[in-house]
């Protein structure tokens, strides 16, 4: 009943709204684009400045890698596998040693950086490379040599940990080393085959004599060095009798 009648004149924008305001806004934009630069980036010739924390393709520092396979196991898309390749370091006149190094299928990689995050020796890094287009799917599989990349501080990724009580205090964020998973032996199943000790990439497994069997031969059981262990699961995987399980730390 009491609706206010809006006249035609009030509905119109008028001189200010129709002329001066758009002119002011466009000229402001023009001056901004002239003084700074336009928003457009001419991609093949110009490239965006990547931020410091940019995660591109994974890279590998060949000599640091110990071939433990954590990256292979942690990868959410299973694009990493371990392959045997010639070691880059070799003595004069010797055949190069065969070592295990990761190979990444970049066609499936989703650049999450988990491999670098969980790498115990920081051999896996995240690089700022993002131009990964190839002509075939096979070319997108990077073998360990192609995967190598120059190292710069900041390329490695760490899981840093701060307790709630330490927030806003002078504590360095620290790596999560205190509570890590450790393999646990089921004595009943162990057949003393020493595969775990042979395959351990960091020599954390030592075979210790614990007694003699009924024929008088020594019984050897693996003992795990918690300091050296990197929780890589290799021993659990190679165990022929499934005698080893990972005991979760928490």
């Amino acid at each position: 009943m009491t609706d206010k009648q809006i006249s035609r004149k009030e509905k119109q924008l008028g001189l200010t709204g129709f002329i001066f305001k758009p002119m002011y806004i466009t000229m402001k934009q023009f001056i901004k684009a002239v003084v700074n630069r336009p928003q457009t980036i001419l991609y093949p010739w110009e490239k965006m400045a990547t931020p410091d924390a940019f995660r591109g393709r994974p890279g590998l520092i060949f000599d640091k890698c110990i071939g433990c396979g954590i990256c292979m196991r942690i990868c959410p898309t299973r694009c990493i596998d371990l392959v045997e390749v010639d070691d880059l370091k070799k003595a004069e006149g010797e055949e190069p040693k065969k070592v295990k190094r990761p190979r990444v299928n970049l066609g499936r990689c989703l650049m999450c950086g988990y491999c670098a995050e969980y790498c115990p020796t920081d051999a896996m890094i995240v690089t700022p490379d993002y131009e990964l287009a190839t002509f075939s799917r096979e070319e997108a599989i990077y073998d360990p040599y192609m995967l190598q990349h120059d190292w710069k501080p900041g390329y490695e990724v760490h899981i840093k940990e701060v307790l709630p009580s330490e927030v806003n205090k002078v504590f360095e964020p620290r790596l999560r080393i205190e509570h890590k998973d450790i393999p646990v032996l089921d004595d009943e199943k162990c057949i003393s085959c020493t595969r775990c000790a042979k395959d351990c990439p960091v020599d954390a497994v030592t075979m210790v004599e614990v007694g003699v069997n009924e024929r008088g031969r020594p019984i050897r059981k693996p003992v795990f060095d918690a300091e050296k262990c990197i929780s890589c699961d290799t021993c659990v995987e190679v165990c022929p009798k499934d005698a080893l399980t990972m005991k979760e730390a928490l």
Binding site: F18, I19, P22, Q29, F30, A33, P38, Q39, T40, L42
Partner: protein, 362 residues
Amino acid sequence: MYLDLWNLVGGLIHWLMVDVIGEILNWLHLYGLADWLGSSGVLHILTIIVVGLIILVVGMLVSITLIWQDRKMLGRFMDRVGTQVGPFGLFQNFADALKVLVKEYIIPDAADRLIYPLAPILIIGLSMAMFVTIPYSQGFYMSNSDLSVILTLAILAVVPFAVLMGGWASNNKYTLIGGMRAAAQTCAYEVPLLLSVASVVVLTGSMNFMDIVAFQYENTWLVIPLIIGFIVFLVSIIAEVERVPFDLPEAEAELVEGWQTEYGGMRFGLIMMSQYARSFVGASLIVLLFFGGWHGPFADYIPAGIWFVVKVFLVFILFVWAWAAFPRIRTDQILDLCWKRLLPLAAINLFIAVFFKTMGWF
């Protein structure tokens, strides 16, 4: 400081025809031919042709640079980069011209075979014909007629007729509506345009661009007493050259490309070119009538023609700014604007001019 084009070209033609070719023909004992080539009539016609060519090339070059300025500035207005080819993107228009040049020339089946090819010729010819009356400086001009203002405005007013012809001959609903709109738009802006020019003519007492510029050099730039007339003329001339916000004949959102929908290849390129030629003529009309023509500071070092072209570019900034700022208006709105707002303003402006003249202040 200015270049006397007619004397320069006349001298060069005389030297070529009499002292070079005439001597050779005399040596070949062709005395009659040598005398005919050296006669004043032949020299005069040759001079006219060469001067006309120079004026055409200069006008086209300035128009192409205006296209570059338009695209580059519109890019900046929209936070884009704009043209790319060459230094500062200057050669983009030449690349585009090369592209449209090699395109196929298609005549639609339903088109009028006679008028369809004729209309672009008329539009382009009329647009280029206006270069004739525009003087760049005291010496750099094609014609110096006492009625050059009237002639320029007359040619400007004929162009919508050619647009209507082209739109009708294409036999397409979009082109026909576009052509009709161009004709309808003419009756909106033509009267305020001419009235604002009439105030300039009343103040200066001449229809010659030379006299108008000389008057402004002696007194003051006419934009100061006739600021209302300048605004009216600016709006009307933007409507005249069919640029946004008055590009009703070429409303890209409603009519595909307006009246030029069916034109392709180099015809489209030349029509585009002629639109910017008319923009150049419109901007130079503003410069000549309101901004003192080719006069500027540092006249001893900077030639008058350069001053003129620089002023044209500066005035064209207003055109581009209007393109970036305003939405396209409707047909009824343009009539409303021109008849209800601009026409009274132009009349007031004319009264102001008459008042100044009768008081003897100018």
